[in-house]
Symmetry: C2
Subunit: 425 residues, 2 copies
């Protein structure tokens, strides 16, 4: 089954706003085996919206419209849908009563224009809105389904999940879907595809999609369909596992369950009952910010030092002034002393440091913009320092540095766990 999505609202035809509801709806529809074949954004313009609805209803069996259901004169979705279908629009008594109660509970008077929201397309069912005043509508007519939904996500999401999904499910093909997501760190999109394509190209089911989701992170989505969810999962995993075990990719696959890097590192630390501290120069706090984006991170993150100026590196981290003078703040020696210093000062099991030149200024022929040193050290263990030159603008370089630092920590944690396991009798 195919669907079209129409988003209504003049603000989405400005340079400032995108229609993001369609991402949510597409994910939900795809799970039912329904493909989205067209998405449109239209303004609050009666003639254009009516024409667009007519075209959509002519060419797709399912049309979802978001927005334009509010109480103001700009909210035209109901009227345009009635015109497009050539049907009437009449006040619904139950909805009117419901709306009066909604305002009464809040102790505020109801402006008359709110009654616009109780106008129902002939033959439609109203979809109650638990989070706002505008009900949605579901209309099945002449082999076509038209669904009107409110624009605000916090109203749209529960309405779709609780009232649209149950109505759609019996109409969707009797097929179950499962998507396995591999996340891969620090490999280019083309090198991932080169390694993975010879495997996934042999299969029509699952369908494989490759996505460069953020700097130094590639996602592979394996979406399988089958008669049962278990079978779809087996099909997706059969291919995903082969790809995950491909020798060039295996060490870089950090998640098979779509967890972000921060969560993977956090889980590894928590499992080992260990802690990490960070020392950040050019990233200014981004590494700590990412680690603490995971709820419960106080169990494994002690803290860190944003050692932006050299005096802070010396005072708080114990970096040697001589090292700074001889090698510079952006150097292997400084990165090493930063990681070791913060680990010791914060009495943590692991220490990670980043020092580099994020640009746009500050580069030199020897150390161009993008030059970054990353160090990972371990209590009673050695310190590994890595030298990289990242491309892109300031924000991308900083994001890349934190991603690679987290990935290095992940690899060190996995190696440590492997050692411990081997050391068991």
């Amino acid at each position: 089954m195919n669907a079209e999505i129409i988003a209504v609202g003049s603000e989405m035809l400005t340079p400032f706003r995108l229609d993001t509801n369609s991402l949510f709806l597409t994910r939900e529809l795809n799970q039912l085996g329904i493909d989205v074949v067209r998405k449109s954004v239209l303004g609050d313009d009666r003639a254009r919206l009516t024409e667009a609805l007519r075209e959509a209803l002519d060419s797709s069996p399912l049309v979802l419209v978001t927005g334009g259901l509010g109480p103001t004169e700009d909210d035209l979705t109901r009227e345009c849908a009635a015109d497009a279908l050539g049907i009437g629009l009449h006040r619904d008594d139950e909805a009117t009563e419901h709306l009066r109660q909604w305002f009464a509970r809040r102790g505020s008077p109801m402006a008359e224009r709110n009654l616009r929201q109780t106008m129902k397309l002939d033959g439609a069912e109203l979809l109650a809105n638990g989070m706002g005043t505008a009900p949605g509508q579901w209309l099945a007519t002449a082999g076509r389904i038209l669904v009107l939904l409110p624009g605000p996500p916090r109203e749209l999401h529960p309405m779709f999940e609780q009232q649209v999904l149950p109505r759609l499910r019996p109409l969707a093909p009797p097929v179950a879907f499962f998507t396995r997501v591999l996340r891969i760190a620090d490999r280019g999109e083309s090198s991932v595809d080169e390694a993975a394509a010879p495997i996934y190209r042999r299969y029509q089911n699952p369908q494989t999609t490759i996505l460069a989701s953020q700097p130094h992170e590639i996602e592979l989505h394996f979406r399988a369909s089958a008669a049962t969810a278990e079978e779809a999962r087996r099909l997706a995993d059969e291919v995903a596992e082969q790809v995950a075990q491909q020798p060039l990719l295996a060490p870089a696959v950090f998640s098979r369950d779509n967890e972000p890097m921060e969560a993977v590192v956090g889980a590894l630390l928590q499992r080992r009952n260990e802690t990490v501290a960070v020392a950040e120069s050019c990233t200014g706090g981004m590494l700590g910010e990412r680690i603490t984006a995971v709820a419960g991170s106080s169990a494994w993150f002690t803290g860190g030092v944003q050692s932006y100026q050299n005096a802070v590196k010396i005072e708080l981290l114990g970096v040697s002034p001589l090292v700074l003078k001889e090698h510079g703040a952006v150097s292997e020696a400084t990165a090493r002393q930063m990681a070791e210093g913060v680990r010791r000062r914060l009495d943590s099991d692991w220490g990670v440091s980043i020092t580099g030149i994020a640009g746009p200024g500050g580069g030199s022929p020897e150390k161009p913009v993008g030059t970054v040193y990353i160090a990972v050290t371990r209590r009673g263990g050695e310190t590994l320092v890595m030298h990289r030159v990242f491309w892109g603008e300031r924000e991308r370089i900083r994001r890349s540095a934190t991603q690679v630092a987290l990935d290095r920590l992940r690899l060190a944690l996995q190696a440590a766990s492997h050692e411990s396991a081997s050391a068991q009798p």
Copy 2:
């Protein structure tokens, strides 16, 4: 003049990708006085794309299409445009020669399928692509303009600016535009609108738009049109200035030139030749990360301490264990000692601290999730501590805390500058 934008590519009909090119194109078109009346996304489907192009060319005088110009069989934009217009498509010799040279310069053989890219709509002008292999096309026919553009932004942007804008400008209405943007911190959208609407509603020109762009930040856009750019600017500023001086809004307007908060705070510090240090608990580094997102921030940011665990607050910041025990880590007293401690330890002019409960766990009836204390201290000056309860999920609470902390620092810096100015003889 009205325009429609059609983005072509099946990846934009998945739950993972949006068409963001349309934001760039809309901004550019609006600057010429051209309104976008519809945006569509279509997949690589010949029948649907042809039909969509036909509809668009029927209803709008200007149609821009992005994507689908590459060398593969999925790239159907050229063929569909020819079908929609009922015209021919023929190989262009100059483009063919250009393409051969492009591959020769790179020393790589040219696959035959690349020649698809040299097929030109009858009557069209090719738009050279300096960043890739697919030329764009400009076709003016029967009172309609059709522009085909490549999908990758780094190819699209220069082609639009260098080759489409000069062709569009003579056709656009002889009107100049200017947009003034006010950025407002720490006020709700409805309270900003309540204060601003009585002023801007009195004007048709400029048009005013209110945008909640991020937590604790509202933007007001005043877009004026006039015969000259100077006159448009005068019209926009006439209204913007009245709004900016509205007593309830004035202290909250942190930028009249669209600079982000981080840049405003950085400029204030640089002008005073002063430095700031940060102590972060629940934000884990986000405050430092935001301050250092501004290039050149080493001139005013000394560094900071991510004092996530209490031991770090005690050891590195000198927070009293007794205070932690009696008041807790999330308290006015702890916030005060964190800010004062980091300022002193890092020998900075200003110190800013954040301590709070970002959730989802860790809340209590006395200190619910979202409770945050923010302190700002000054060398030789007093320490101001603020207590707030932010709503939303973990990331929103953390983002809100850094935004309000930066805004408090901005207000303190402005007050200090005002003092210095008054103290002058």
